[in-house]
Amino acid sequence: MPSKIIIIAIVVLLIASFATLFVIEAKNHDYDYKKAWSVVYFENPRDESLDFAIENHEGESANYAYQIFSNDAKLIEGNIDIKAGATQKISPVLDGEKIKGTRVMIDVRYKDADYRIYKDLK
């Protein structure tokens, strides 16, 4: 009988442990749960499109300031509020001739963090 108790106990212990670890993994396997980060990226990295997205995983609503430069010349400046966990897509309207052959940089700031992405256009 004691050996059966041991087997039953380890089965119960393992089920409880598995459930605990599974829940911990599932909760943390989330871009937002107990995390604070942001990401900026071009919607399409393969072409010359300048559409970009900002994702807010800071754990709270955040106000992002962004600037768009062509080489060193500032073209656009703006602010945007993004809810926690949300993604904001932005399609900047730029003069194609003006930015041709330049490096177009998108600089997004949130608090002290600075996220810069850029493309060298032909």
């Binding site: 106990a9 605990t20 599974f22 993994e25 980060w37 990295p45 393969r46 963090a113 060298d120």
Partner: protein
């Protein structure tokens, strides 16, 4: 989420308990005299694992797509066949009862039961606490293994590795659990399965110790030693978290194979002889290093026993031969031959691979560990306790009893393979070999603790012996647990891992992998090996900058492009590498190489998070 847990909790016994349980039913009957309930319960898991692997190999050979329903059906058919054999072989089963002496061996007393339960609770608790910090899939090895498991899931076929580094038994069970339960591979599932095998491995060591020394006390203490003293350090909790699949399964199958071998030889029983061969086949299909270690271990044990009984050597050999030259072991041998020759030959089964593992050590990492390195790797407390066990077993040595040859021969050969591998013509990394020392040390340590108490409790100086025992135990427990405590992570890496996952999903959804080639940095990005699961294009996609020391190999030239394209992309060598490999995207750590890459005019930066930057070559 809760449905997934439920599905996983149902799938694990279905695949990893039922087949083995029904197989034992067919072999031993419901209340067979040879095995106690305790042993059957423990052995159901490794036997199930081997059967599930063999069933999948057969399905693949027959050209049947490996799908969830097929697996469920196959396992049910297998269980039904076993049940039919049981009914045929044991028609009047109900009248039988377990023989009393067999029952007694694992019939623990109340205090022993309490001790085992406490040891197991502590063993599980330490592992769960450790794993809770690392539970999101991120380990490099696990990422590589899960790529192959995902390949089985996606294609329904077994993968063609093309390299001898991977073995099919390391991947099938994860695919099988995924296919039957629907729980993904990028969840806690793979680590939980490894934890399960690790815990069953503790039980396997306990039943081996119990059988070898015919003592339930030693079996009880083995739970404490294997479960608690060796809780985290390799090859236990850290290997579970690190996804060192072959080792974890190997550490479960080695004691099982030895258990059957021991019982086959001692009891001259053909069923155990067949089961020994069967477990060895499982080992061969799962992990070449474990199989290699097992071959050396079994050979050392048997040779030592034969040398010590040289006068009766012919009689002993004849007995062994008679045990194995019976229908069941021969049937298992034939089945194994059919599997290896006609159904699936493991990728490492070739003379070149065998040649690589044997002979004079060729690398600095293979020339053996010094005694201080062994002490550091195993832990002082564990080594002292094992050494004491070795001494006590040596003093109590009875040449005619296989148990002493097993305990001493097993430890001696693995110790020699670790310390002086050239003596045994072993040419494999010494750190990997040293990880197996914990198996015989567990046996010897459990023996030491029980024998010590028995010896001194019989003497007049009981007080002195008790104090000494408690001092020893205090040293062992604090030292053993502090080894484990040192392994706990101080930094929560979950955010970084999720950022890696995010960048992987981004790249997989935006790149055209037929035209774009991605290079990612393994050196400064955690969980990077999981990138390939987002693409599922090829095992070598994306390319990876590996650990820098790997690019320097005095024995042969190594490719250096994956390094040069990150460390010096603007150099002539770097540029030549870009044109040769076609790499046009690079994922690096945003804070390290990311800020350096911003200075290179040839690159656009298309993605940036706190942890990951992705650059595109213009």
């Amino acid at each position: 989420m809760f449905i997934d847990i439920l599905k996983l909790i149902l799938a694990i016994p279905f695949l990893l308990v039922f087949p083995g349980a029904f197989f034992q039913l067919a072999l031993f009957g419901w209340k067979g005299s040879k095995m106690t309930f305790f042993e059957k319960a423990v052995l159901a898991v490794p036997l199930s694992l081997i059967w599930v692997d063999l069933v999948i190999l057969l399905l693949a050979k027959l050209g049947i797509l490996i799908r969830g329903q097929v697996l469920v059906g196959s396992v049910l058919v297998f269980c039904l066949v076993c049940f039919a054999i049981f009914r045929y072989r044991f028609p009047s089963e109900r009248q039988k009862t377990e023989e009393k002496d067999e029952q007694k061996l694992f019939d623990f007393s109340v205090w022993q039961t309490v001790f085992i339960l406490l040891a197991l609770a502590l063993a599980v608790f330490i592992r769960v606490a450790y794993l809770s910090d690392t539970i999101i899939p991120s380990a490099t090895d696990l990422g590589h293994h899960m790529y192959w498991s995902q390949t089985i899931v996606n294609t329904g076929h077994l993968p063609n590795y093309g390299v001898p580094d991977f073995i099919i038994g390391e991947h099938m069970i994860f695919a099988a659990v995924n296919l039957t339960s629907g729980v993904g591979l990028m969840t806690a599932m793979p680590v939980l399965l490894l934890l399960f095998f690790n815990i069953v491995g503790i039980f396997a060591m306990a039943i081996l110790a119990g059988r070898v020394f015919k003592s339930n006390k030693i079996a009880a203490v083995a739970f404490f030693v294997a479960g608690t003293l060796y809780a985290i350090n390799p090859p236990q909790g850290r290997y579970v978290s690190g996804g060192v699949v072959g080792n974890i399964i190997g550490d479960m199958l080695i004691p099982v194979a030895l258990y059957f071998l021991f019982r086959a030889l001692v009891e001259k029983n053909q069923i155990f002889a067949g089961l020994f061969l069967f477990s060895f086949v499982g080992l061969l299909y799962t992990h070449h290093l474990s199989a290699f270690i097992f071959i050396f271990s079994a050979a050392a044990i048997l040779i030592l026993f034969l040398i010590l009984n040289f006068k009766n050597i012919l009689g002993i050999l004849e007995n062994w031969l008679r045990t194995f030259a019976k229908p069941f072991p021969i049937a298992v041998l034939l089945l194994s031959a059919v599997y290896f020759l006609l159904i699936f030959t493991p990728s490492y089964f070739n003379p070149a691979a065998v040649g690589q593992a044997t002979g004079e050590p060729t690398k600095i990492t293979r020339i053996g560990y010094s005694l201080s390195q062994i002490d550091l790797g195993i832990g002082s407390a564990q080594l002292v306790l094992g050494g004491l066990g070795f001494l006590l077993a040596f003093l109590a040595f009875e040449t005619k009893k296989l148990r002493y040859s097993l305990a001493l021969g097993w430890f001696s050969v693995i110790f020699l393979m670790t310390w002086k591998p050239e003596l045994l013509y072993v040419n494999i990394p010494s750190d990997r070999v040293s990880n197996y020392l914990f198996l015989p040390l567990t046996l010897l340590s459990a023996y030491a603790l029980v024998r010590y108490f028995e010896i001194f409790s019989a003497t007049a100086s009981r007080f002195f012996s008790t104090v000494t025992l408690f001092v020893l135990l205090f040293f062992v427990i604090t030292n053993g647990l502090s080894d484990s405590a040192g392994a706990f992570k101080t930094k929560n890496q979950f955010q970084e891992i999720m950022e890696v996952y995010h960048s992987g999903r981004y790249l997989a959804s935006t790149l055209d992998t037929s035209k774009d080639t991605l290079l990612k940095d393994h050196v400064n990005i955690a969980a990077d090996s999981w990138y390939k699961l987002f693409f599922m294009k090829d095992y070598k996609y994306p390319l990876s900058r590996g650990v820098l020391s790997r690019y320097i190999d005095p024995t042969k030239p190594r490719e250096t492009c994956t390094r040069d394209m990150i460390t010096e992309p603007e150099s002539d060598a770097g540029r030549a590498c870009f044109s040769r490999t076609g790499v046009n995207y690079i994922a690096v750590n945003a804070q390290m190489e990311g800020s350096i890459f911003e200075k290179y005019p040839d690159f656009s930066k298309v993605y940036m998070s706190d942890y990951i930057s992705v650059f595109k070559r213009n």
